[in-house]
Structures are given as C-alpha cells and as structure tokens.
Amino acid sequence: MLSDNALKRIDRELTKYPADQKQSAVMAALAIAQDEKGYLAQETIAAVADYLGMAPMAAYEIASFYNMYDLAPVGRFKLTVCTNLPCALSGGVHAADHLKQTLGIDFNETTPDGLFTLKEGECLGACGDAPVLLMNNKRMCSHMSTEAIDQLLAELRAEALAKPAGPKS
C-alpha cells in the first residue's frame, strides 16, 4: 500500500516518541502518505492506522480535523491562498481573484486538465509577506503580485510538461 520509502520516513518519525505512543506519529505519517498518494483515500488512512496500531477511525479523525489533509483528489498543484484580514489588507483578495480569473476556477475547484486546485486558506503565519500562498502544503510563496503569480503558474506548467503525471514526490 505505502512504499518502502514512505514507511522508512514514518519509522523515522516514530523514533521521536515513546515506544508505547506510536499514535503520536499519525500526523506526520498521514502527511507522508498524502505526499505519496496525492490525497488520503479511506484505504490509505486505514493503512496508516494499521501501521501505527491504531483504529482506522482514530486516524480518520485526524485526517478530517486538520485542514491540510485532502480527503478527496486534488490537482497536481494545490494552491492555498490566504485571504484573512492581514493578508487582505495587502492584496490577498486581489491575488485570489487573479488566480480565479487566470485558472478559470473558483475556490475548491480543479482545472479540467487536473493541474491546479485552488483553496482559500486561513492564516499561514506569514502575513508580513502578503499576498502569500502555499503550494502543495510545502512551499510558501511570498509577495505574490500578479506578475509573480503568472510566473509561478508558468513554472508549474513547465514542470508538468517536463514530468507528466505520476505520483507526487
């Protein structure tokens, strides 16, 4: 179900916690699984739970509580734009509008080519760099002017052309 590489990474997380507290690694393990599979299907969550010796429902509780986990498929590049007040004061809403217009989608939608999903984010903790967006939960993009957004989209499209489909790295 999960690759050896993913299991190895989960094993490393497990070394952080007492031997009888394997459940502590569930957040990291689900993030690792999501990186590999693209999103958390029921059977992926169950596999993580099984590996950590916890009930599938307990792992599902985590996956559904924390909002960076995706319980349904998303595009290859998930862009989460912060529109909260501090960001909005420096153009967060304008940046989101520009993305919607350029991609032709609204929040929580995916482009027909499966490349981009747009999400409205709550505070990313980087308000000083507004507008900010987060790419696939991992890469923080700061000072996203319309030019910077266009550049990012071009870069990601080029990446998709060079390395078509396949699971997320």
Partner: protein
Amino acid sequence: MSAQTILTAGIEPATADATWHLDDYVGRGGYAALKKVLAEKMTPEAVINEVKKSSLRGRGGAGFPSGLKWSFMPKAYAGTKYLCCNSDEGEPGTFKDRDLLRYNPHQVIEGMAIAAYAMGTAVGYNYIHGEVWDLYARFERALDEARAAGLIGQNILGSGFNFELYAHHGYGAYICGEETALLESIEGKKGQPRYKPPFPASYGLYGKPTTINNTETFAAVPWIIMNGGEKYLELGKPNNGGTKLFSVSGHVVRPGVYEVPMGLPFPELLKMCGGMRGGRKLKACIPGGSSAPVLPAEIMMECTMDYDAIAKAGSMLGSGAVIVMDESVCMVRALERLSYFYFEESCGQCTPCREGTGWLYRVVHRIEHGLGRAEDLDLLNGVTDNIMGRTICALGDAASLPVRSFIKHFRSEFEYHIDNKKCLVPPEVQREGSKIHVRPSQC
C-alpha cells in the same frame, strides 16, 4: 535602529536566510549561556530565579510570568517530564516566531535546553505550524547540527545532563496553538483543548508534568542567563521586561517583524515600518493579534507597546501582532473576515463556541451584505455574552472580543450598513486601499 536588540542581534537582513547554521550562531555568541549553566553547575533554582528577576512574560499571548510558570513543575517527580515549545503560530497577524525559526533556530534550541535543565525535563518537542513547512525542515536540520555537536542529547557537553529534543509539525488547525490542544495533537489526537485544572505542570503530555512556552520566550532565555535578569528587565519597563518582537501587517509601508524594547510608543513603531501606506490616515489598529480588541486611531496613537499600557487602553498586547488599518477599510467587512476565521477554526467541542461562532459570522455577514436588521447589533452582543466565559478554552472569547470591540468603537459604521444597505466606505476606495502592495526592498 538605535535600541538594543537581543533576539535578532547580529543578523543582517541581506544574508539572514543563510546564517542560521550552528557555526553562524556560535559566531554570534550562541550556546555560551548553555555552556555557562553547565560549566558553573548553576542550580536549577538559580536559573529559574534569573528568569523570574528578568520579568520575562510569555510571548505567546497570555503574558504569564515565565519564571513563575517554570517553578510550578514538580521537582521530585520520578518519571519523565516534558518540555514543549509552541511554534504553532496561526493567529491572523502573527508571524514573529517564523522569523526566529527561519533566522535563529539554534537560539530556540539553546533556550529550550536551558529551560529543560532548570525544570529537569528530559524530552522536548517543538510544535511547528504545518504551513511553514520549510521552517519545520530547517529546524530538524538545526537539531541534527546541535545533536552532532553534543549540545542536545545524552550527557550534554559531558555534564551528565540529558535532553532529547524533537520537532513535531501541525497540519492546519489554529486551535493547536492553545497549549492543551497542542498536547493532544502531539499525542496523535484531534486538537481539542482540555479542562484546566489539572494544569500541564501536573498532567501534561502523556499525562506527565509538562511546561509549554512560546518560541520567542525560549529565545530570550540565553541572553537572560548571560547578562542577568535585571539587565533584561532594564531593557523594557517595570513588570514588562526586555524586548519584544512585533509583527506588523496591514497598511504600513514596510510590514514585517520588528524587535523593540517593551514600552516603545506606538507612533515610533509605526515610523519604523515606514509609516502609513500611500500617506493615508490611520483608522484603527488591532495591537495583539486578531483576538485582541480593536482600538481606534486616537487611542492607539497614545499607547506604548507593553502589556500593561495596552491592557489599560482596553485591548491586549497578545502575541505582539499589530494589524494596521487605514481609512480605506470598511470595519464591517474586516470583522466579517475575522468572524469567518473563528467560525472555521472552532474545534467544535463546546456548544457555545461551535454554535456561537456560526451565529457571529452569519449575522456580521448579513449586515455586510445589506441584509442587516436593526436589532442585529444587540443580537451580536447577546451571542458574545453567551459564549464568553462558558467554554473550555479561550477561542470563544477570542471570537467574541473582536465583535464587541468593533461594534463598540465603530457602531455608526455598522448602523450605516444596516440603514443604507451599503458600506460607508465606497467599494472602489476599499479595493484601491487593499490592492497588492509591493514593499520597498529594504527589509
């Protein structure tokens, strides 16, 4: 900047992103405090005493005296005690710990090691906001460096003192910044706050005695040990010791993180940020993160930036997140966005908060969209009465305080909305005022 800095001292903005490594930190005098504590065999009591003298108060928002908090940990406990660092920075407006973790992660590690020594905690976790993933990865690398140099781990610097430290990441839940929700989250559960008492010092992580401090709090500890608590206190003002990081966002020319002595007059902080954007007038300011009551310009301009002065003005210094709003802001719309945040982030455990935050958002939303009713302002205040003080944690209060303060100070704007079905501030003015801001390339 003329005033003394201690958290960001020696860090040059141009190269800051490359000078976070162990060697760089040691070059800035880093780990000298930990070495001093171990070489001089300072007693744990002496370390705690120094922190008490410094008047260091918790930098996460509550402002609780740190030395006092440390003294609550049971000394004679036989099992494992834990130390946690709260780097789950997700309160709108707050981004100060991000800079500490980005530019000076070893300062946090050193502060935690000294705290661990003082409280006899053998294991620690730094809980890092999931959205700043690059900093989580960087912190793990910094831990590797410290471990390889014998600065954390077993028998630190040959002293016999053991302290294992790990990084744990969040994954998108504001509530985990609440300390007991953070503990639940490390245990691999939903981040739902616990009843207090029992307090974490007696029943914390895995049911063991635990102390949780904010990132910036730990980062201040090495300086206090090297220079003495009294020196630290002198940097600020009585009962408000030291310097403080302020993360300034919104309508200033240069949003960013600024380290200033406690008690700096607000107009001076504003000046450091390059003043108001486009020469527009200050309308309002939230001085301590989105949960803190908003203050109108005329009150804010009279404030000094410290716990006691901001409290006296009717708000909270909180995490030091200063959200600056100019005259182009519609206060109803601003509140609507904040209310949505709390509605979205309520963990759902307590009914007043779960249901109440939804009521607050929906009613502010309808006022903003021209569907408000004359009785809505009383309704909003009534809902906050039913939330505040009736929930396990402070998120309910955090959702209520903005509503009450926005209505209190800007009531006429809300009434205008209700009576005229539109904003007092024309939409094009709002849009122009909050367009994408390109910051001058200074910081």
